[in-house]
Symmetry: C2
Subunit: 492 residues, 2 copies
């Protein structure tokens, strides 16, 4: 600590001891002197500065009164513990060297009572007792030290082995396939974007989960979109796009797509596989919702239908288990997985071991299956609540998808009502959702909105959709042109 830079202003009216106190206060304010730091002894500082010792003592007393320093008998004076670094320098112009921050959807400031905004499971239905049981088994087990040690970019070996066995059965994973663990599906998409960014045109669905769009646009990939309707992506439109752009990669969620909830039929799946095979386009299949079917019959994955073995399938425990534990996986041809593992190692070495071990135990023990059954039962109730409420409360000419599973459906409001207008109004009533334009690469879908119902009770869903519908009707009524038709007098 160096107070020798103190410059006495002998022309000032301010007494020297006050000048010194001001100087020290400045040092503390600017964070050069910190809480707990020892001040020089009065005798020492007086000698250093050529001042009288009583002057220094008076300055210290003033600082002590102001609570800036504290005297300790026999030990000297110290900067008060509460004083921490507060030195402020002119802010650097970060905007001039860093990329702009993208505006993404954030929740409202007001209190949200019913949020349709997040595609995630209900946390009051987490099987905490089972989670605790398997976690205890993991940490008390013989592999605890392995779990804590550095691992492989491919993932925690026992989980990887388990998932390989589970998927190598009938056609899900094929000879020549490999599997890598990721931090949820988002990282799988991110790594795929890194590896395929330079390969050529990428086809994404539209509307689509904003995380997919952001990943590929950040990597500088050339993106074209294919429309998604009630029956999933449109194979005719896909074929036309393929003829025009010869893409190298198609990213598709065939079951309970986010945000529409739409699913491809078996016929639709076969057509998508056939088109991509014909054009030599690699399919990335997002299968994270596929186990969340509440109605209808299970359908094969594109990965199962594609006998060339070139489809890359993404899975995750986040939607069927716990989103806070970041464990997903990617299954695909070994040369692809090799590159992804390489990119993963550069990205973050490997995924966290503890959650991988816990989720392995959760799956192996049968707890995941039981939890999934309960989730499907609850999901069926939610789904029928949301479909019933939409039929009952939405304006008659509103349109909406009718999913058979997953966590979301997609509403189209009647013109001229936009989702942003509706959102402003329903947020005042404690309801939240994400407007459709956030699920597009081009800021379209102004009259659409995503309703994510996975975390709400049937009662909340019903109440929320009623508020949405009532508000939409009010807005539409207010927006309608007034009927100013005046019957004219008969022409005679």
């Amino acid at each position: 600590l160096d107070l020798s830079t103190f410059n006495l202003d002998s022309s000032s009216d301010t007494p020297i001891y006050k000048q010194l106190a001001e100087f020290v206060r400045g040092m503390i304010d600017r964070g050069i002197m910190c809480g707990g730091e020892r001040l020089p002894a009065t005798r020492e500082l007086a000698g250093q500065l050529g001042l009288n010792r009583t002057t220094v003592s008076a300055a210290y007393s003033l600082l002590e009164e102001a609570g800036l320093i504290e005297g300790q008998v026999g030990r000297g004076s110290f900067v008060a513990k509460s004083m921490t670094a507060r030195r402020v320098f002119p802010a650097r112009d970060w905007d001039s060297i860093l990329p702009p921050v993208e505006a993404v959807f954030k929740g409202p400031v007001q209190h949200v009572e019913i949020s349709f905004a997040s595609s995630r499971p209900a946390d009051d239905q987490f099987p905490l007792a089972e989670f605790r049981k398997v976690t205890r088994q993991v940490i008390d087990g013989p592999d605890a030290a392995d779990i804590l040690q550095l691992g492989s970019a491919y993932g925690y070996a026992p989980l990887r082995r388990y998932l390989m066995e589970q998927t190598t059965g009938c056609g899900m994973a094929r000879a020549g396939d490999d599997l890598m663990i990721t931090n949820g599906c988002q990282q799988a998409l991110d790594l795929i974007a890194r590896v395929f960014a330079a390969a050529g045109v990428v086809v994404l669905e539209d509307p689509v989960y904003h995380g997919v769009v952001r990943v590929f646009s950040r990597m500088g990939a050339e993106v074209v979109t294919v429309p998604v309707g009630e029956a999933g992506l449109d194979p005719n439109a896909l074929e036309q796009i393929f003829e025009r752009t010869r893409p190298k990669l198609l990213v598709v969620t065939p079951s309970f797509q986010n945000p529409t909830g739409a699913s491809l039929s078996l016929e639709g799946r076969r057509r998508v596989v056939a088109v991509t095979q014909r054009f030599g386009c690699v399919v990335v299949e997002n299968g994270i919702y596929s186990e969340l079917r509440y109605a209808g019959s299970p359908l094969p994955t594109l990965k199962e239908l594609d006998e060339t073995g070139n489809t890359i399938l993404l899975g995750s425990y986040s939607k069927v288990g716990f989103p806070g534990l970041r464990v997903g996986w990617v299954i695909g041809p070994r040369p692809v997985i090799t590159r992804l593992a390489d990119a993963k190692e550069v990205s973050d070495l490997h995924s966290d071991h503890l959650s991988q071990a816990v989720l392995l135990k959760f799956a192996e023990s049968g707890e995941l299956k039981r939890h999934l059954e309960r989730t499907r039962e609850a999901g069926a109730e939610r789904l029928s609540a949301v479909l019933r409420a939409c039929a009952q409360y939405l304006p008659l000419d509103a349109r909406y998808t009718k999913p058979q599973g997953g966590m979301s459906l997609w509403i189209e409001l009647p013109a001229p009502l936009t989702a942003d207008t509706l959102l402003n109004r329903v947020q005042e009533r404690g309801v939240n959702f994400v407007p459709g334009r956030h699920f597009s690469t081009r800021n379209i879908h102004a009259r659409n909105l995503r309703i994510s119902f996975g975390a709400l009770s049937p009662e909340q869903i019903t109440r929320g959709i009623k508020i949405l519908g009532d508000t939409a009707k009010e807005e539409l009524a207010a927006a309608l042109p007034i009927d100013d038709f005046e019957p004219a007098a008969a022409l005679v």
Copy 2:
């Protein structure tokens, strides 16, 4: 299951039942029929194919004898459970569309007895009892459901708050700083590379941890290097580089750098801060080893010395705690952290919650501090073992750094011996290390090697360095020109 595509070859010498059996075998081999799948009843298939039922039965018997199908009394025949998809299509030429796989250092195939190859802690010294205790507290605690739910890109809020408090004391984090949790330090580097890649020239140390080089070169950043010697990076060379290239980012590990183990002196730190301030270059300070000091006095971080507040500091629990739990953090000016959080969300939404909660409890409870004290004691023993062994066993003209902490030191072999030659020889003797060229952007440092001693006992270290030294001496002796000087007869 459709066997109706069977085409009988009536001109063949092969009996029909054998042809049918061959056809079914092909379906199984190609994965079209899978383990557990039911075959048509003999009567049904006979009808379908227009064959005699005994022909079909004979085919089935043949397949059963071959172990390809299994009969179950009263239920029919099934493809044997052991038969899974094996249908193989011509492999796609992935190399034509994907980036090449970089050759990175992999351990030898032989058994490694003493590995100096990995910069990680010793797993037999993991405090398992304490880890189990705090993990139990976490999962049994009131925040279990929060931990399992989706979180923020900034990290698990209680850990973030704790780290902010810990670092906001004396100058480590400043007013205007923010903090984000990452999957270890590697992800922090990766996100920084994404955010700063377009900003301008990046200065890296040389030699340097290969993960740093790979991150920045992958992102397409323009990289220049500054040499690192026994006293850390050379401030004079740095100044010259700054004058020439006006870089935007400097990545530096001031304490116990990987791979050299070298540290910047206080004077060196001050000079690095002054140079970067003068040129307006942002410093990324890798501080993950700084708490692993076994000798000498603690030194301030660059972050503390840089009053402009523009330094970005990386920390991690991986080196001081458990590498398998992927939790690190980055502290820096809020506009930087905002961009990093944005990139993090695109990359993998957020870091795993469970390990964040466990490490928070581990730190808060004082267990981390106790573990760190034990680690420093053990580290001091390892360090003195490695320095003693180097002095005793290495060839006299070998040079090596003398670190005061961390996990690595850097040896330079006398010419003409290269690290690759030595590695080949010592791997036969059960010793492994990473040759110096893996720590360079330009495949240099052929005579250098990294010795990572963090996971080994003093005995292993001594034995391993002895093997290294003995082998090096043998190789040098073999490589030396034979002394063929024959004193000539006196000229008379």
